[in-house]
């Protein structure tokens, strides 16, 4: 038995087949890995319509005049805040209920100050406010439909227009180049579909 095996192994064609199979395995696995890496790096660019994320955002169609007693707001700002009605105000002009004081002179609604044409802004609060404009809804829906799996965690958990804008405007994996540098340090908060413009280092 052993002798047979040994003799078989000595045959050139057997060795050839073994080698060929190994080569094929090697090539396919290498190729697969490469493909996977490329896929990983371009999560947003994947335009695979089969992989729609089950988003459940409720847009309050242009219903900004509704009366609410409590507002959520963007919490984090150094000087500015945006409330869920799209008003941007100074921290000092925030009412106890979390809404901006609409009577304060500097308070503005749906303001796109510092935002570029590509939907990227240099100030987070203005990005959120701009994104809350009712006419941004189609754009956001388009984005949600195309947002790939990489962002499914985030955008399936988002429940309404305001949460979506808060989340969308934050810097993310789409905001960086070489991992530790902003693509565009000036306009890095984007409500739009495209990542910030890539500036050379």
């Amino acid at each position: 038995m052993m002798m047979m095996l040994r003799r078989l192994l000595r045959k050139r064609w057997v060795l050839g087949v073994v080698f060929g199979l190994s080569l094929i395995y090697f090539l396919t696995s290498t190729f697969k890995q490469e493909e996977r890496t490329i896929k990983d790096r371009t999560l947003l660019e994947v335009r695979d319509s089969d992989h729609r994320i089950p988003w459940k955002v409720r847009f309050n169609l242009g219903n900004s005049s509704r009366q609410i007693t409590q507002c959520r707001n963007s919490i984090q700002g150094k000087t500015l805040l945006t409330d869920e009605l799209g008003y941007v105000c100074e921290r000092n002009d925030l009412l106890v209920n979390g809404c901006c004081n609409v009577n304060a002179p500097s308070t503005r609604q749906y303001i796109c100050k510092s935002c570029l044409a590509n939907g990227c802004c240099s100030i987070y609060e203005y990005c959120v406010s701009c994104c809350l404009q009712p006419d941004k809804q189609p754009l956001l829906e388009r984005f949600l439909n195309r947002a790939a799996e990489g962002f499914s965690n985030l955008f399936t958990a988002v429940e309404d227009h305001f949460e979506l804008c808060l989340a969308k405007c934050r810097t993310s994996s789409q905001s960086v180049q070489h991992e530790n540098t902003y693509r565009n340090p000036q306009a890095k908060y984007c409500y739009g579909e495209s990542p910030p413009e890539l500036l050379p280092i």
Partner: protein
């Protein structure tokens, strides 16, 4: 373009278990020896004490030879049968791996053993002797013999590992250190501490809060780590697991994430702090320890959306200039997420703090062992963001158990791990538990939690604030403070007492005097009142006139906006001219008022304010003579981040970046301590050479400078030296071929990293010293030699290429390391000029000393580097090379620095140098061109001197020298009782006062 090194720390259980068994297998007895380490490392004395007690009824029966278990039992029963009946006895089973093998003794339990029965036992031909069983107690004590306590007991293998995603995982090289390296060292004390329960939650008295019904319920805690398996038996409230990596599993394949989650929230076996907390598991590391900033960014965004309360990050890296990451951490804090992070495992070297734990808004946690010693691995030293112009902040914030802590195993059960990765979840768990005790959760925010932790922390004796922060976590006191908390501002450190040693090291190590560079204390303001705040008007400086407060000037700079929840207050202290020859203590205080917009106030425009007092106490001495004053050039030291500045020792391949700050209080700490002990006063120049009064200083010390020089600096230095200033330069290698060779591909940033200088910037240095006919070469040499009866090691240094002919030059035979790096060939070069001494010819002119290698005065190469090198080298090395490496790891050349300072300050030349047989004729350097800058280097990106230009980069215009505006004093006449001091921190005082008011 910057490298992000994520270091996650996973701790070799193998190592720990190994040592424990080792200790068990070798019971020692006898007198109590006092082990002291090698002569140049006497700082730590190990005191070993033994006591013993007879164990009743148990006897050790020793045989004449080795017999099997069966044979031994037979012999004993035969012998005891002869002793007569009625004797109750049995053999005490010993269950250890050795029991399968023949042994020469047996442990026997004999009831009512009479001396005669023992004698009959001894009559048996194969039994040698019978002795009562004794129980030996050992106690280990470490006695630091002086404050200096330079941690140099390096012979021990570090039992932890760090992972760096851009480089191969170092598990094999670090965890399997042979017993040889375990011989000494602080950690070895752990072997004998098996009796101490290591249930860290109980040690910290979490059970007191559990009994009050607080178990973390209602608090969302996020663990950013390697994941967690779905059905782990230890966890009851895993709310969600999410994956942010490119791996297709949520499970933990390493055990790191499980352990961390267990310390926070395990409910059985090894209990965590908050078993009822809502756990959110974020897998951000693959099982191959890969992670990217972009994964973190997306995961962090999700954590904000989910309104996480406490977030543990047992990770860290040196890149505090990774702006997307740092900004994101601020954003999290601004969204009320309490960030807890490990300070790093790069100790005992100073200047090793990891990001994000080094951020003001993050709770940075260091590690201690169960004997309250700072764990050797715990990173320490000031933050280095502020260099060269400013001074670092105090970090870590607090310390807690991080050595041999028990936590959940990967699938089940418990295991023991060490590292600041372990200390961080201890604090995160405690924070979670604490948050659940507060009725009004609105009061819990990143600032108030940090205030409560640091105000309640227990200070460890004999440890400075750059190692322990505010001290050891005290859960119960933190609970008390937090539950009577009212929003307010506080300071860290809460007082400035520059006389308090060792806590206020390095401030206490050198008194201040008129004409010295201002002493800067970088205080962090914590503002529990709101995410944004501001300082009202200006802080006020109030000197105490009866306590000579008018003898000092104080300048204050501070954050224009305190965000998120934090800001800085930098206090610069100088001595007033009238105290130029005065000696004594001066005191006063600074008052700061912080205001935040009120969030829960009924009125609009309401503001909360809080006023904090910062007491200041300093020691003033008369200005020392010029010859005693040494100025350290910090301005021309560049480091990582932002750029790739390679290590000065090319053998250190594991950690190729120069990232410790190159400051006298970070990786040149030992050198600083040495100079202080020799009576020198060392100051730091954080500005261009044009910005100091050279007539005040004896010697300018430039070590391993990477920066370029402004033309004005070069001119000024020449003038200064003509007027009597002396200069010592410790250079390093610069070889363009080697620089090209040490480039590497960084997985994190997906690009090639090419160094922008060598170990030092030799071409720039040569421009600085060319007027005296001096230059360094681009040679690269390594080797050991003897100089003036001292053993020396030259690690990747350059040689002197050009030197004036009336100077003294010392040459040695060294290995050409350049050839080794480039062609893997070994060649010895004869008579390499390495040291040069020169007296400038002008009347009263200064002296210049050059040396080609800086490694022997740099702690980072004398400790950690040596250790890691030992580890990589030792897989294939003989005992002799091991010994050599250990030896080299200890060898410093402070004696040489002394000799050079003797020469530059007092014009005294060590005869063994000037009359050395190694003295050679100064090289003229004409045969070879001098080194040129690496073509296409990107130094201008990181340089303060160069700027990009068409063609070659050009120097920028010389910046203005820093100017301090002294605060206008508002003196106080009344005598102040000083309530702070070494025994009690002011912060505690403020808190108690405030608590009393409640």
């Amino acid at each position: 373009m910057l490298l992000l090194v994520w270091m996650c720390t996973l701790f070799g259980m193998m190592g720990v278990v190994g040592t424990e068994q080792e200790a068990r297998a070798k019971p020692e007895s006898g007198p109590s020896p006092v082990l002291t380490q090698e002569s140049n490392c006497t700082q730590l004395t190990l005191k070993l004490e033994f006591s013993s007690k007879v164990v009743e009824h148990e006897y050790i029966v020793a045989f004449n030879g080795y017999f099997s278990t069966k044979a031994r039992s037979l012999y004993i029963s035969t012998a005891l049968r002869n002793a007569g009946g009625g004797l109750e006895w049995h053999i005490v089973p010993r269950e250890n791996p050795a029991s399968d093998f023949p042994s020469d003794f047996e442990l026997v339990h004999i009831r009512q053993a009479s001396p005669s029965s023992l004698l009959t036992l001894e009559d048996h031909p194969y039994i040698k002797r019978v002795t009562p069983q004794r129980k030996v107690f050992r106690s280990l004590k470490y006695v630091p013999s002086s404050e200096v306590a330079a941690p140099c007991n390096n012979t021990e293998t570090e039992k932890w590992q760090s992972w760096q995603s851009s480089r191969p995982f170092r598990r094999t090289s670090l965890s399997l250190g042979s017993g040889f390296w375990h011989a000494t060292g602080r950690h070895s004390s752990r072997r004998l501490l098996r009796a101490i329960p290591r249930h860290v939650a109980q040690i910290l008295q979490a059970d007191v809060l559990w009994q009050m019904g607080h178990t973390g319920s209602g608090v969302k805690v996020a663990v950013f780590d390697t994941g967690l398996s779905e059905k782990h038996p230890h966890f009851k409230n895993v709310k969600e697991r999410t994956n942010w990596t490119n791996e297709k599993t949520l499970d933990d394949g390493l055990g790191h994430g499980t352990f961390v989650a267990g310390v926070i929230a395990s409910m059985r076996e090894c209990q965590g702090f908050a078993p009822d907390a809502e756990l959110h598991i974020f897998k951000v590391f693959t099982n191959n320890q890969v992670s990217y900033t972009s994964w973190f960014l997306d995961a962090f965004n999700y954590a904000i959306l989910k309104k996480i309360d406490v977030l543990n990050l047992s990770i860290g890296g040196p890149d505090f200039m990774d702006h997307p990451f740092v900004d994101k951490v601020w954003e999290l804090t601004a969204n009320r997420v309490i960030m807890v992070s490990a300070i790093g495992n790069d100790g005992p070297l100073y200047g090793t703090l990891n990001n994000p734990a080094d951020q003001m808004d993050v709770i940075g946690v260091g590690g201690i062992d169960f004997e309250d010693n700072i764990a050797r691995f715990s990173s320490r030293g000031m933050t280095t963001w502020e260099l060269p112009g400013g001074y670092g902040r105090v970090k870590p914030d607090i310390v807690t158990y991080g050595s041999g802590v028990r936590g959940s195993g990967m699938k089940e059960g418990c295991r023991s791990l060490s590292g600041t990765s372990v200390a961080s979840p201890v604090v995160a768990g405690a924070v979670t538990l604490l948050a659940s005790t507060v009725v009004n959760r609105q009061l819990v925010n990143p600032a108030s939690m940090k205030q409560a932790l640091i105000a309640s922390a227990r200070r460890l004796p004999g440890v400075n604030m750059f190692e322990q922060g505010h001290g050891k976590l005290d859960l119960i006191r933190a609970y008390q403070i937090l539950n009577s908390y009212r929003p307010q501002a506080s300071l860290s450190p809460s007082y400035i007492d520059l006389t308090e040693c060792p806590y206020m090291w390095p401030y206490c190590s050198q008194p201040i005097y008129y004409g010295g560079m201002p002493t800067i204390v970088n205080v962090t303001i914590l503002n529990g009142m709101g995410v944004t705040g501001r300082i009202v008007d200006k802080p006020i400086w109030q000197p105490y006139l009866p306590q000579n407060g008018d003898h000092i000037d104080v300048a204050l700079s501070y954050s224009p906006v305190l965000w998120p929840w934090v800001g800085y207050l930098a206090v610069s202290i100088s001595v007033a001219k009238k105290a130029a020859s005065w000696e004594g203590i001066a005191q006063g205080h600074v008052m700061v008022t912080v205001a935040s917009p009120a969030e829960n106030d009924s009125e609009v425009d309401g503001e909360l304010t809080s006023t904090v007092k910062l007491p200041i106490k300093v020691k003033i001495v008369p200005t020392p003579p010029r010859s005693k004053r040494v100025l350290w050039d910090q301005y021309h030291n560049l480091r990582y981040p932002p750029g790739y500045f390679p290590r000065d020792n090319l053998r250190m391949k594991n950690d190729p970046l120069d990232w410790n700050g190159d400051h006298i209080h970070t990786n040149f700490r030992d050198m600083y301590q040495h100079l202080r002990s020799m009576g020198y006063f060392v100051e730091v120049l954080g500005a261009p050479i044009t910005c100091f009064d050279a007539s005040q200083y004896g010697t300018l010390l430039m070590v391993d400078s990477e920066e370029e020089y402004f033309p004005e600096e070069i001119t000024k230095l020449r003038r200064d030296i003509d007027n009597g200033l002396s200069l010592i330069i410790f250079s390093d290698w610069y070889n363009t071929s080697v620089m090209r060779r040490v480039k590497f591909y960084d997985e994190n940033t997906r690009q090639w990293w090419m160094p922008d200088t060598g170990g030092a910037n030799v071409p720039a240095l040569n421009e600085l010293i060319s007027v005296w006919g001096m230059a360094f070469s681009d040679g690269l040499y390594e080797g050991d030699f003897t100089l003036a009866d001292h053993d020396m090691y030259y690690a990747s240094g350059c040689s002197i290429a050009r030197f004036p002919e009336d100077g003294i030059v010392i040459a040695k035979n060294l290995k050409d390391q350049g050839l080794e790096v480039l062609q893997q060939e070994t060649a010895v070069v004869e008579a390499v000029p390495i040291l040069g001494l020169y007296q400038t010819p002008s009347d009263g002119g200064g002296r210049i000393a050059l040396y080609g290698d800086s490694n022997c005065i740099d702690d980072s190469h004398r400790q950690k580097g040596a250790v890691s090198e030992l580890l990589t080298e030792c897989s294939l090395c003989t005992k002799q090379t091991k010994k050599k490496f250990v030896y080299l790891c200890f060898s410093d050349c402070f004696w040489l620095l002394d000799a050079l300072l003797q020469y530059t300050s007092y014009s005294m030349t060590l005869p063994s140098l000037s009359h050395s047989h190694s003295r050679v004729a100064p090289p003229t350097g004409l045969e070879k061109p001098l080194p040129q800058r690496l073509e296409g280097n990107h130094l201008y990106r990181y340089s303060k001197v160069l700027e990009a230009h068409l063609g070659d980069p050009k120097p920028r215009p010389l910046p203005a020298c820093p100017h301090l505006s002294w605060a206008k004093p508002q003196p106080l006449m009344k005598l102040h009782l000083v309530t702070y001091g070494s025994t009690r921190s002011c912060c505690q005082w403020i808190w108690t006062k405030w608590l009393c008011r409640m």
